[in-house]
Symmetry: C2
Subunit: 275 residues, 2 copies
């Protein structure tokens, strides 16, 4: 998906919500186990109910991998279903990959060719040649971890790497020269909303993928206040707070209600996009 | 596998070689395509031929993932085959994972419970809580990226993070307090053999997984000279230089010959283990 189409979808749907499909077979309603592919069935119902309110879905690959080839198959079914039934959705593989060049080429092939994802999350630790292979696909995106939402983000990401610069800033500064706003986004956790002002000094025009609103405690208003740009520039993810909002047979409607609430908040915020 | 068993295997086999199963369906001998599971067949033949010379195998997960559920299935077949037919082999999932706590738990489950790997490689960028879940499994190992073998390792790993310290040193110093030499190893590329002296200042007792000998150009002698400790402390990986040494029907025997040569060099080096 192009930068332009992504922004257009945000304006059309009045939403910059991404729903994380962290679909855990231990947590989905038990009655779904009667289906051959319970996690796919869960995803299908969540997606059909919430699609009006969201511009993106983000399967968390760990939850599928942990079930071996059956999990991998349910991921395939999920991606295919969304592509066929909900055109215009931005699909993110939350995979946190990154390896030497010939291996990253394989990862890019996995997520962009075998699966038809629009974007994949990657760790910057191994540097340029671990990320470059993802740039070989037109209208596909790499989403680089900058400042993550977890407690451990303090351990290394906040290390001082220069007189007045920390590691995540160096990652932003350096890696933003490798690609551009049409093929690169950054992960910045909502739990660090006050840092978004600093992030915008390095990447004013890029989209940011913001996890950590909801279960992890970040604030949507703060994220928008400090992180927005004229193209919105934000994709805010919520996973558990939406997909596990309900536990009964009408879990999909409960999820839709929760997604609709967030979309409503986003619609109001989008009235204040800078010119 | 315990630390003690690992060292015992090195002494028994007179080898600290790990063979990387970067098994690419585009590169394996064409006649294998007549089998239902060509990559598994390739791995099976490579393993049966090379097992006398190696203490470990390291499937590179990207090469399996990139073929969707079929690739994932061939990985399962490979791990099961090695476990049944070659007891005492140390099995490393080269996955470079790492995510927030609840997701890293899923990755640990994948590689330690669904698959019976001994170890998994992880990226340190997200800090403690991204790595801690791997410590919950007895006699299983986490192998943390410290200084990788690729060119991009200069981009961030060599950044100065203190007066006389770089990022990979801080990673060693900090993360070595999270676990111990019985559950943690580090990746240090053979292309940085001269840095091994420095690495040993931080982690004198830990095992190091050393990629980059062979196709990437590192020297085995230098690695041993600068990196060894009284428990050997080294697992040196070679992937492409062994598994693709031959291209004909006797590719397995060519691979065995190459592995045997390296084992022979290692046997001589092991005579010089420090007391």
């Amino acid at each position: 998906m192009s930068f332009k189409s992504l922004f257009q979808n945000i304006l059309t749907k009045k939403s910059f919500l991404c729903i994380g499909l962290d679909s855990d077979i231990q947590k989905i309603p038990g009655y779904l186990n009667k289906y051959k592919h319970p996690v796919f069935e869960f995803n299908r119902m969540i997606v059909d109910a919430t699609a009006p309110y969201t511009i993106a879905y983000k399967p968390n690959i760990a939850f599928y991998e942990s079930r071996g080839k059956e999990g991998w198959h349910e991921l395939e079914l999920t991606v295919d279903y969304i592509r066929k039934n909900h055109p215009g959705i931005f699909l993110i593989a939350d995979a946190k990959r990154g390896d030497i060049g010939n291996t990253s080429e394989m990862y890019a092939e996995t997520f962009f060719k075998i699966f038809d994802f629009d974007a994949v999350t990657v760790s910057p630790y191994m540097g340029y040649d671990s990320i470059q292979p993802f740039f070989n696909y037109k209208n596909k995106w790499v989403i680089i971890l900058a400042l993550t939402s977890n407690k451990g983000s303090d351990d290394f990401q906040m290390l001082r790497t220069g007189k007045s610069e920390t590691l995540f800033e160096t990652v932003l500064k350096t890696s933003s020269t490798w690609g551009n706003k049409e093929n690169t986004m950054y992960v910045v956790g909502a739990t660090h909303a006050n840092m978004l002002v600093l992030v915008r000094e390095y990447v004013p025009d890029h989209f940011l993928l913001i996890p950590g609103v909801g279960a992890q405690g970040g604030s949507l208003e703060d994220v928008f206040e400090y992180g927005k740009n004229p193209n919105c520039g934000l994709i805010v993810n919520s996973s558990r707070a939406i997909i596990y909002a309900g536990t009964d047979k009408d879990f999909d409607q409960t999820a839709a209600q929760k997604a609709s609430e967030i979309q409503g908040q986003m619609e109001k915020l989008l009235l204040h996009l800078p010119a």
